[in-house]
């Protein structure tokens, strides 16, 4: 659409600007402020310059958390994206069952994140949880509070459970927008199912899939509550992702300086 040049449009944007300034910019300045100072508590701060940044950039802990974070984000994207597309391809296109699928699939998205953690914490327990109990009955040694692999598997399966629906619903919305004529043309050309997917559906879904990848990548980088509830970042530090590490550092040890510095590094 042709847009008119109109500088007065700034007045319409002003409320949003003020609100976001109030709720984002001012607190963010505080973060930056912390990142160049030191504290021993009691709100007494000392100027520390870029010391924290150097320390953070040289610390193994921060890089290890970042590494785990990248591996985690990579794995969940690699699972959720194909699975989401696959589910979307199999969803009913309209009618009663389409509504049922939509409602049920959206359900995990609307569960508070710590409840998601609680659900999986319970579900995975060997003594009272269905999953843990079943795996135990098959003789698989499964304990997400002690086993490295079990902890990672639980956190990943939990994330897949929680967020695959988002990818699927986005892909479904993309598929719904493809006109029937495309499929009819493909049928005349005797295109195989794979070709229909590769040359019609996938290109048409490109836009929404980009949204899906961006949202999932950003949100998985902020993941905090769910793994914290389930594993508490353990066993050891094996599921301590960036946000968990940050909160541990800021609240647990009151190292606001390094926490703010490492966050400033990862945000920009």
């Amino acid at each position: 659409m042709e847009k008119t040049v109109n500088q007065k449009a700034w007045f319409l944007v002003l409320p949003v600007l003020l609100l976001v300034a109030f709720s984002a910019v001012i607190p963010l300045m505080t973060v930056v402020n912390y990142s160049v100072q030191d504290t021993f508590g009691n709100n007494v701060f000392f100027w520390a310059g870029l010391e924290w940044f150097t320390e953070v950039l040289e610390s193994d802990r921060m890089w290890a958390a970042l590494g785990r974070q990248l591996v985690f984000s990579g794995i969940i994207l690699a699972i959720e994206l194909p699975l989401g597309i696959f589910v979307a391809l199999n969803m009913p296109k309209k009618g009663f069952w389409a509504s049922v699928c939509l409602v049920l699939m959206a359900l995990p998205l609307l569960i508070p994140w710590n409840v998601v953690g609680t659900i999986w914490q319970i579900f995975g327990r060997v003594d009272i949880g269905l999953l843990g109990h079943t795996l135990d009955a098959f003789g698989i040694d499964y304990n997400y509070t002690q086993g490295f692999i079990a902890a990672w598997a639980t956190v990943i399966v939990m994330d897949v459970w929680h967020w695959t629906s988002l990818v699927a619903l986005l892909a479904y919305a993309g598929l719904q927008s493809i006109p029937d004529a495309y499929y009819q043309a493909a049928k005349i050309d005797q295109a195989s199912r794979w070709k229909v997917f590769r040359y019609i559906e996938l290109p048409k879904m490109q836009g929404v899939l980009m949204i899906a990848i961006l949202l999932r990548f950003m949100d998985s980088f902020m993941i905090y509550t769910e793994p914290f509830v389930v594993t508490g970042g353990g066993p050891g530090n094996s599921t301590t992702f960036l946000s968990i590490d940050l909160v541990k550092m800021a609240l647990g040890q009151f190292d606001l300086g390094p926490a703010a510095a490492s966050r400033s590094c990862t945000s920009w």
Binding site: P82, F123, W161
Partner: protein, 283 residues
Amino acid sequence: MADMTLNQTAPRGLGLPRVNGRAVVMTLYLVFLLLPIYWLVNMSLKTNTEILNVFSLWPRNLTFANYAKILTDSSWYMGYVNSLIYVVMNTAISITVALPAAYAFSRYSFLGDKHLFFWLLTNRMAPPAVFALPFFQFYSSVGLFDTHIAVALAHCLFNVPLAVWILEGFMRGVPKEIDETAYIDGYSFGRFFIRIFTPLIASGIGVAAFFCFMFSWVELLLSRTLTSVNAKPIAATMTRTVSASGLDWGVLAAAGVLTIVPGALVIYFVRNYIAKGFALGRV
């Protein structure tokens, strides 16, 4: 996964759909989604003795005591009330400020509009964990700590950009000729916006409100940091009470089930817009 997609030879939307293969896939996926939730519901209907001593797939001694405990104890049910208050406040604020901004972005080009739009979206990417402590200090210093409005404003951080984004997508779909016709007919901007334009994008407003509700309802870190007693959200009540009183699994499960209910109701009302909404109006 890929080879299963290959096996579906019937073209979609034409001729006989392969109902069976699809139904199997969807059933498996939905079972995967619902099993953990079922387990939570199952546990919430059991007594603690049964949870800990008998491994049963369904409650042997059906009990509603866990729910009764939550619904009669004000320290529990006030958590739900607090959560709903700040979620509704946040949704109202976000939509109100986002509407004019989205209109400006969809209709006019002005100095720095693209940069501004992108900058708004970057706020959506900011992790709440960064903001928890600064928010705490900031809201304490302006005397808003432990009020509903503080949480509602804090959640605007990620909801306002999202609302602007969604609404802008929907507004772009409304032809500009409608605006021009209305101005020729002598409508003022305010009257045009409320009387003509808002009804046209009603579904977009519904979708945006749904997303604001959703992200504000599920967020815990900020709402927990910014409240202590008067505005404590249910999610925080759950973690604290349980860790304090040992392991009351039944009540914990019942509280979890009750947090799912508002979300499920909201989904039911917007189910026909969900697919479009998830594409953020951009399909």
